[in-house]
């Protein structure tokens, strides 16, 4: 198929960006979206233009690097997938596709479609861990039985890949789904209880400092999240937060 691409180009974080049109031809429906981008970039290199910078690495939906806003949707039109798992069979010959970076005050553009997500890093550093030394002098793993149900639920929360689609999708640029997932993973496990109060307070505080917006329960994040992280995690975080504030 032949396509028209409208792509955000921006030289660096200080430059003003703009949309630029490109044409690609002979795109196979079996290609992944990023393979289509490779075709475009090969074409640009060959004609002496600068290729489009975009983040990607594993290309199998797990590293969370890829982050394109395609036709107004984070990770594009398919559900439950990352940009790298999106396939061209979702498009048809003659389509015009708009490709933009994540847009959020807490995710400034570095170049073209690449954004800076280190705000997520700092939120994790504020409390996204259990303070146990890595010396190996811990108790036997089976000394802490955990119900299958709790373990499975913790696992569901822990599958967040930190891509930021939830933020990019939210009209308030809220990071509640991302933070809720991490808080939930630990809140659901006995190992996480000791530091539960500090954890939720510190992570939420850092989230606010980074300039993420408030949650107004529109639920768009859950729909665009490639890993199916549910809104229940936000509710759980709110409960944890409330508990923590009462405890002081």
């Amino acid at each position: 198929m032949n396509l028209t691409l409208k792509i955000w180009r921006q030289k660096d974080s200080n430059a003003k960006g703009q949309m630029v049109d490109y044409k690609v031809t002979d795109i196979s429906e079996h290609m992944s979206f990023l393979e289509m981008m490779d075709v475009l970039n090969e074409q640009l290199v060959n004609t002496g233009e600068e290729p489009v910078a975009f983040d990607h690495d594993c290309r199998e939906g797990i590293c969370g690097m890829c982050s394109l806003y395609i036709n107004g949707e984070a990770h594009g039109p398919d559900r439950g997938v990352t940009t790298c798992q999106l396939h061209m069979r979702m498009f048809k010959d003659g389509d015009t596709i708009t490709i933009e970076p994540w847009r959020a005050a807490a995710f400034p553009v570095i170049k073209d479609l690449v954004v800076d997500r280190t705000s997520f890093e700092r939120i994790q550093q504020a409390g996204g861990y259990i303070s146990v030394n890595t010396s190996g002098n811990t108790q036997d793993a089976n000394a802490i039985p955990i119900s299958k149900h709790a373990a499975d639920e913790a696992m569901d929360a822990a599958t967040c890949i930190g891509c930021g689609a939830c933020v990019a999708t939210c009209k308030n640029s809220s990071a509640m789904l991302f933070v809720g997932a991490k808080v939930s993973q630990y809140a659901l496990l006995p190992q996480g209880q000791v530091e539960a109060t500090d954890r939720v307070m510190n992570m939420v505080k850092q989230m606010d400092l980074e300039g993420f917006g408030n949650c107004t329960n529109t639920g768009a994040c859950e729909i665009e999240c490639p890993k199916g992280i549910s809104l229940e995690n936000i509710a759980r975080m709110n409960r944890e937060f409330l508990k923590a504030t009462i405890k002081g």
């Binding site: 690495d57 396939h87 373990a151």
Partner: protein
């Protein structure tokens, strides 16, 4: 230089304990004055960085991604081994040790493998304490699954995302140290050289991938944990950015490179579909717990399937050839990877491949769905369940175990693997070879360590499933933090290493010159053009089956591609900005050297062992007819190559392997 593996004396089961009791320690107050650089934040680097920081060293960690959590360890699916014997099926440290040495086709160092097995149980304790949500049974205890090449169930897992969960565990430990200021994290930074001062590794040159700035970083020791070099094949299950640069750069500065030809071609990956393909996707080995591999028995059915006249589900049981079960009744679908890959290639070469390219076999879950369905019906007291009910119940179990893998498959291939068997074919996956290290995990450059997939490691000529995660975490959490202390004990009075020495200056200049060369070269062909050509030579001539003539041709062809690359590569953009093409150019330049050494190593090793299969070395008769033939008399050694300029001129050093605790035997999985 003679290779000294520094394996401690004494009985194998006491070596590690005795060693730990005797090494030099650095007192906590002094650790504050010692800096360590860790390149890479995967399971190996992440766990090492966190532990070293926790011990009190000042750690600087580097990754080319925008977060430590995105290292390619994140993609590991199936699980991690540990000799916990929770299933009571006869597992033990010795058995894990034995299975790993045998699985590696007797080409690994016994003492290292024993230590790995010894600390394995600790890893699971550690990870659970960190909040890693491993799968559990209904009693609330940890669950296990089986992997290839073994007869016990010792693999711990978190759905099909074990690597993700383990890495997030190590990442959380890192975050705790970053918050304390004990780790300084350099994301989006690429190490481009190591700096050796007075014979010791004392720092690195790195490029800030956002600004293009070249930076000098000094330390008292440098740890390389940069992952494997599978992308030398262009197509592999590795990430797009996975590269050999850090490992290759230290090789060029004096670290020997061991067994480059020991590479794992994994049997169960999604087949390639076209020239545009940028990577291959693994379908975890754990699927072979429940999936059965087959091709049609009759050529007419193969043709009918290829032409779309028949579907795989149309074939009855006796029209199918479950060739692994047929050839290897004892291990069946759970033979080790090298064996399963060659068997798939054998069937496809004979014309039985089931897709348009003729390079695919089936991985079928129908029997598993039925078996689980019936079991569930019993558990839930459903009498006379309908077929639909059985399917529904069985599908539920398979989904719970492998749901994310099935979803991945469906998104790529656009077929529902619950209904029709998956199509799979072998692909490059893991590199057992890598930087040579001694028992302390130190390379032949004093003060330069190498851990995780980047070293030549504990897996010999073939790695068993679920052992790489185990090795990465063992190296980082439990081994390196001890062994590095022994070395650093001499550095307590050294003080900060200055970065204005001539060694730093020269190293920086070499890096800058090379970058400027690329930017100013104005060639006519893209980096990918050369990378793809290299990959094709590697796959065709240094792939699943190798022979003398092909390997000689490969060496010449790779050299030729390399020369063209330096003449004609085109890198757009500038040096002082984010420039992905420039990053790729540097990596491919290194692959183009490594590839030739790889072929040279394969040519030298005139035996078949593990993932290295020489067509000239096959069992000619008897029960093992057609299987790989090892030659212990002449080749029971680690091949460690010393850099001498051109890869073809590399000098071979042998570390003879001694087997005192395991008898050298032919591997049989029949």
């Amino acid at each position: 230089m003679a290779l000294d593996s520094k394996v401690p004396k004494g009985p194998i089961k006491d070596k590690w304990t005795d060693y730990k009791n005797k090494i030099n320690l650095v007192n906590p107050a002094n650790k504050r004055h010692i800096d360590v650089i860790v390149v890479g934040t995967g399971l190996a680097g992440g766990s090492a960085a966190a532990t070293l920081a926790e011990l009190g060293y000042n750690v600087k960690a580097f990754a080319y991604q925008d977060s430590p959590r995105r290292a390619h360890s994140i993609a590991a699916q199936g699980g991690i081994n540990a000799a916990k014997n929770y299933q009571g099926d006869g597992d033990s440290t010795y058995r894990l040790f034995y299975d790993t040495v045998k699985g590696g086709d007797y080409r690994s160092r016994e003492a290292n493998v024993y230590r790995l097995a010894e600390v394995s149980a600790n890893i699971i304790d550690q990870c659970v304490a960190q909040g890693v949500p491993f799968a559990r049974d209904y009693g609330g205890l940890l669950d296990n699954r089986s992997f290839g090449g073994v007869l016990v169930s010792r693999t711990f897992y978190a759905k099909g995302q074990t690597g993700q969960q383990l890495l997030l565990g190590a990442y959380s430990a890192m975050n705790r140290q970053i918050a304390r200021g004990k780790i300084e994290m350099f994301n989006r930074h690429e190490m481009l050289d190591v700096v050796v001062v007075d014979g010791k590794a004392r720092g690195i040159i790195a490029r800030n991938l956002i600004t293009g700035e070249i930076e000098r970083h000094s330390a008292h020791a440098v740890v390389i944990a940069s992952g494997g070099y599978g992308n030398v094949y262009f197509l592999s299950t590795n990430a797009m950015g996975s590269n050999a640069t850090a490992a290759w750069k230290i090789h060029k500065k004096g670290a020997y490179f061991a067994n480059p030809c020991f590479t794992q071609i994994h049997p169960t990956c999604i087949p390639r579909s076209g020239d545009y393909q940028s990577k291959l996707t693994l379908m975890s080995e754990s699927l072979r717990n429940d999936g059965r591999i087959w091709v049609p028995k009759n050529m007419e059915d193969v043709m009918a399937i290829r032409e779309g006249r028949k579907k795989p589900t149309d074939l009855s049981e006796d029209e199918r050839d479950y060739y692994l079960e047929r050839r290897y009744p004892a291990f069946g679908n759970l033979v080790p990877r090298d064996v399963a890959s060659r068997a798939a290639k054998e069937r496809c070469d004979a014309g039985y491949g089931v897709n348009a390219t003729g390079e695919a076999v089936y991985l079928d879950f129908a029997s598993a769905i039925e078996r689980y369905g019936k079991e569930q019906a019993k558990i839930h007291n459903i009498d006379n369940p309908t077929e639909a009910k059985i399917y529904e119940l069985g599908k539920g179990i398979v989904e719970a175990k492998y749901g994310n893998l099935f979803q991945m498959y469906e998104k790529i291939v656009d077929e529902d693997p619950y209904k029709t068997p998956m199509m799979i074919y072998p692909a490059t996956h893991y590199t057992m070879g890598g930087v040579w290290v001694d028992y302390n995990l130190m390379t032949t450059i004093p003060g330069c360590y190498c851990i995780g997939e980047a070293n030549f490691s504990d897996h010999g000529a073939n790695r068993l499933g679920a052992s790489a995660l185990m090795q990465g975490l063992a190296d980082g959490y439990f081994v390196l933090p001890y062994t590095i202390g022994d070395y650093l004990a001499d550095d307590i009075r050294t003080g900060k290493i200055p970065t204005n020495s001539k060694e730093f200056e020269e190293a920086e200049k070499a890096v800058t010159d090379r970058i400027n060369f690329f930017i100013n070269n104005n060639g006519t062909k893209s980096v990918d053009h050369f990378h793809k050509r290299l990959g094709k030579v590697m796959w065709d001539k240094v792939g699943m089956a190798r022979n003398e003539q092909g390997l000689k041709e490969a060496m010449a062809e790779i050299k030729q591609i390399r020369e063209e690359f330096w003449k004609d590569v085109k890198v757009p953009g500038n040096a002082n900005e984010m420039n992905p093409e420039l990053e790729k150019a540097g990596r491919v330049a290194d692959f183009l050297e490594l590839g030739e050494l790889f072929a040279k190593d394969a040519l030298m090793r005139e035996e078949s062992c593990g993932g290295h299969f020489r067509e000239e070395s096959v069992e000619e008769s008897g029960e093992q007819k057609g299987e790989a033939k090892r030659n212990d008399k002449d080749f029971a050694f680690v091949a460690a190559w010393e850099y001498k300029g051109e890869p073809a001129d590399a000098v071979l050093h042998k570390e003879e392997l001694e087997f005192k605790d395991i008898e050298l035997k032919q591997r049989s999985y029949k």
